[in-house]
């Protein structure tokens, strides 16, 4: 049982960004994808999630053995993969609580997507408290006027509430202070404890101090150039990416 990416090549428009990426995240495993800026880390997550305009040209993406490559993003989500965006887009008119309600109801096969579920809302409030997210934000249009920290917390809230089998985290710690990083890491750890496979993209190793990965992949120019255990993350923390780059490091 795993989220498996095999020899994935992908392009955005006419530009090939990924040149044969292979990685695997098993149930309950935390897997880190690190690399310098522009290495294709976000592209990898978007391609797994099925973002329009991000076209796989070769290779396979599978979830627990099932091929996702031909499915639209909403189907992939319902099958159990979800993305926590680095900078989630504001959606005026859709309150955070309504988004959660609709996504929740959809997964339960309820016909009325907008019907509020009191059990859900109770769980949402608890999760929000644990994340240090003000309850007031639940009643606001999602991501509209949210601070950076609030956006990150809101993304984690959605993951904790909707419990995907595999969570893709796109730099969930960027822009946060130490307490914020610890909070996000704790939430991700909780997801993993409950059986979710986590793929965390991060430029810095900081968050990995609080969320130990079992495996680390290093992505440079759309290729996996190194793979290792948690010590790999420690080394990058100390040395950066210079050994992987032919030109001066970013």
């Amino acid at each position: 049982m795993a989220l498996q990416v095999e020899n994935l090549h992908a392009r955005i428009g006419d530009t090939e960004i990924l040149h044969g990426v292979t990685l695997r995240a098993g149930k309950g495993e935390v897997v880190a994808v690190m690399g310098p800026n522009g290495s294709g880390k976000s592209t990898l997550l978007y391609t797994i999630m099925g973002r329009p305009g991000y076209t796989p040209t070769k290779g396979r993406i599978s979830l627990d053995g099932e091929d996702l490559t031909a499915l639209p993003p909403e189907e992939r989500s319902l099958k159990g993969v979800m993305l926590a965006f680095q900078d989630p887009v504001p959606v005026p008119g859709v309150k955070l609580s309504m988004l959660l309600t609709a996504a929740w109801n959809k997964r339960r096969g309820a016909k009325e997507l907008t019907r509020p579920d009191p059990r859900l809302l109770a769980a949402v409030r608890r999760n929000a408290r644990d994340l240090g997210l003000r309850e007031e934000l639940l009643h606001r249009d999602v991501n509209v006027g949210f601070s950076g920290g609030e956006k990150k917390r809101s993304e984690m809230l959605q993951l904790l509430t909707l419990r995907p089998r595999y969570a893709l985290l796109d730099e969930p710690d960027s822009g946060l202070d130490v307490d914020g990083v610890k909070t996000i890491a704790a939430a991700a750890a909780r997801l993993a404890e409950e059986g979710a496979g986590i793929v965390i993209v991060t430029h810095y190793a900081r968050i990995l101090r609080f969320l130990e990965p079992s495996r680390v992949y290093v992505l440079v120019d759309g290729r996996v150039v190194d793979e290792g255990g948690p010590s790999l993350a420690h080394r990058i923390d100390r040395e950066g990416y210079s050994r992987y780059l032919s030109s001066p490091a970013s």
Partner: protein, 478 residues
Amino acid sequence: MGAAVRMAKPIEDLVEASRLEELLGSVRQYPKEVEIRGRIERSLVEEISRMKKEPEWMRRLRLRALELFEKMPMPRWLYGVEEIDLEEIAYYVKPRAELVDKWEELPDWIREAYQRLGLPEAEAKFLSGFTAVYDSEAVLAKAKEDLKRRGVVLLPMEEAVRRYPDLVKQYFGRVFSMADHKFAALHYALWSGGAFLYVPPGVKILQPIEAFFFIGSELEGQFEHTLVVTGENSYVHFIEGCAAPVMRSYSFHDGMVELYAHRGSRLHFSTIQNWSRNIVNFNNKRAIAEEGAHVEWLEGSIGSRLTFTYPATILRGRGASTRNISVTLANGPVVKDVGGKAIHAAPETRSIIVSKSISAGGGLATYRGLVRVQRGARGSVSHVQCDSLVLDEKSRAYTYPRNEVEEPESEVGHEASVGRLSEDQLFYLASRGLREGEAKALIVLGFIQEVLRDLPLEVASVLAKVVELEFSELGGVG
């Protein structure tokens, strides 16, 4: 047989023309003149009047209107229509059932149609009275005991003309003049069906009253006329919902609503319009509010191919007020040309106009409103809010608000916004499991939330349900 109303060629042509307008910065209308084929004979109008057993004054009113119709020029604001064939419009269609008082007595095929619309439930729970029109004739009239006892008159319009001629005569045709435009005149010549509601002074009806109209056969022009009069310090909320089955040729609807709110009264009038996609819909709506009276219009325009509707309130008495809310959906190759009008003709009057339009699938929504503050209307306040949401590249929204302010001691404000749906937003919602139609429905519901919040539950829930259906079925109802 051709169509009663022949549409302009592909709606894209229309959208092109409108865009050209915008580029040129003028409000010049679509250039082509609408042609009228055939005639309405005077003898036909006389026959209609005779069959309805109308008093002399009504017969003369129809004939005067017919004359005006023939003389008046085609309105310049009309576009999207190439030809109107009068010969093909059936003026008077009598359904096989006679006037009945109970649901059970309706013929099966009518009851079935109403059941599909969810009417029996609505009737049972929320409504005080009910009038249904089928094929231009009031088939079912049902007023609860309570209303009768309180002196409320709720009848099909024709019956009201016969039974309360003096009362009706005081108001009929006095709020919306037949000379206003060519199709108002046509309406008055051919009107049939509609409801008459009179609320005596001091009577407050807390449960909304509802009426449904049905176009049952092809090529029928619906010319229903609804008249609501509220006596001093009374209150009523009238809900009108239109639905029609899918048809094969075009159909034409030229209805009218006249509201008269006497001193201190409150008159709320709600319409949920969900005509099927081949109907051309003119809706003539006007209200007069006397001193301290309040008139509220709510227009939820979901269906039809082409709609022209501009609910207007004339604030004739000191301190009169009006709120005019429209939620307009142009989903698919359809055109909605709508707007609210408020005429401040007395001091201390207030108007609020809120227009929410949503364009999708190549639809065009245009807001064309008017606020006029006449000299002497001191201390008047008006606020207009126009919000448009455009869901894709193919669709359009335009706003042409007009203010004519002749009184310096007044406040007239306006806000407008245009929102566009981005691919990123759709992807974000998709990553949560929502497919495009569901995502759009959520966004649209959120967009109209502030309006839904202020409505009575039964209206809000119907409107929300209809909007949700429109998007989740990728193309709408009917």
